[in-house]
């Protein structure tokens, strides 16, 4: 189950710069920790985040272990046409979690 919270305006003026905020549940295991038995805990972080606006990438990020658990990111885009924003987070185990948000541009 994807546990993500996306915050975007539902409606915007054409040409307006809108803020997008996205947060997802993920441990972001650094790979630098040891468990109670002293064994290294393998790294498992979301290493890639992408945001597409009607299937065109408008923002992406590469993450390293210094990103906080349950990663939060806020960025912006210019509202162009009514459409769908798609978010994708890819972790070290290859799991891709997705979420979408619709926007109406007037």
């Amino acid at each position: 189950m994807t546990r993500a919270l996306i915050n975007t305006p539902k409606q915007a003026q054409q040409g307006e710069v809108i803020e997008i905020r996205a947060m997802i549940a993920h441990v972001m295991e650094t790979g630098h920790r040891r468990d109670a038995q002293g064994a290294a805990v393998p790294r498992n972080i979301i290493h890639r985040f992408q945001c597409l606006y009607d299937d065109v990438e408008i923002f992406a990020a590469d993450f390293y272990p210094a990103m906080a658990a349950n990663p939060f990111i806020a960025f912006s885009t210019v509202a162009t046409t009514s459409g769908v924003l798609t978010f994708a987070w890819t972790d070290d185990q290859g799991t891709i979690q997705r979420a979408t948000a619709e926007i109406t541009v007037v």
């Binding site: 189950m1 546990r3 993500a4 919270l5 915050n7 905020r21 947060m23 997802i24 549940a25 441990v27 972001m28 906080a68 658990a69 349950n70 939060f72």
Partner: protein, 255 residues
């Protein structure tokens, strides 16, 4: 404001003789930096809200041999669970002993859903407990006027005031004697359990009040009581009665 301070000063003068400094009741929220406060107060930046979303999903998911969801009996949580968290721990009628909110939820899971209890601190139990407690956000803590709770609150208070562990400290020594002062990098709060389960930055996840109490015991170099131990329930019952009137914040954020 001036009146409030005047009153506080008067109470202080009255209790001054007792050695403890009486303070206005304040949530741990009031002692945090503006940045950590802002993280809690904006739902879109509060990581605890991710767990509330999961709790909502669990609330609606049929489970157990009875294959029934919490919502199947309780309907909309916003109505049926509004105010519930303000009055826990409460006496559980079948055992006539106090039970905390997580324990009450697990009871329904076992007796109503006919499912296995969730383990202490499991993500599911934390998410459901946080979701139920969230329905009381903003409502004042209002422990039940139930005489059967009195002995448990009293034993919780005794524990709070007793010296524990190798450092010979009591909970009260820090949380009443020195609340508002710095301990290393942290400010000592008054220890009001207003916001549980909460997202602690130190944990990087959601955790229960019992986990928090166990952490303080570790800090005192005392052997922490086991999860679910009667001592922890008694401490919870005392701390909730001590926090009467403060608003529920779940899901809180703390350093």
């Amino acid at each position: 404001m001036a009146l409030k301070h005047g009153l506080a000063a008067a109470v202080l003068a009255l209790l001054g003789a007792g050695g403890l400094v009486a303070q206005e009741k304040r949530s741990g929220l009031d002692y945090m930096t503006p940045e950590t406060r802002a993280m809690q107060e904006d739902d879109m930046s509060n990581p605890g809200m991710l767990f509330i979303a999961e709790g909502e999903g669990l609330w609606q998911a049929p489970a157990g041999a009875a294959n029934i969801a919490c919502s199947g009996c309780h309907g909309t949580a916003a109505q049926s669970m509004r105010g519930t968290a303000t009055r826990y721990p409460a006496i559980e009628e079948s055992t006539r002993r106090p039970i905390d909110l997580a324990g009450r939820i697990n009871l329904c899971r076992q007796t109503q859903q006919k499912a296995q209890a969730f383990p202490a601190e499991s993500p599911e139990l934390l998410a459901l407990t946080a979701y139920v407690a969230h329905q009381s956000r903003g409502m004042p803590i209002a422990p039940p006027a139930d005489d059967r709770l009195t002995p448990y609150r009293k034993s919780g208070r005794d524990l709070f005031e007793r010296r524990l562990g190798q450092l010979g400290l009591s909970c009260a020594a820090c949380h009443e004697g020195h609340a508002g002062q710095r301990l290393g990098g942290s400010i000592i709060p008054q220890a009001h359990p207003t916001a549980y389960p909460l997202y602690r930055l130190e944990w990087q996840t959601l955790g229960s009040l019992q986990r928090r109490l166990r952490n303080c015991m570790t800090g005192m170099r005392a052997e922490p009581f086991a999860h679910g131990a009667p001592e922890l329930i008694a401490l919870e019952a005392y701390l909730m009665s001590r926090a009467t009137g403060l608003p529920i914040e779940t899901p809180g954020v703390r350093p």
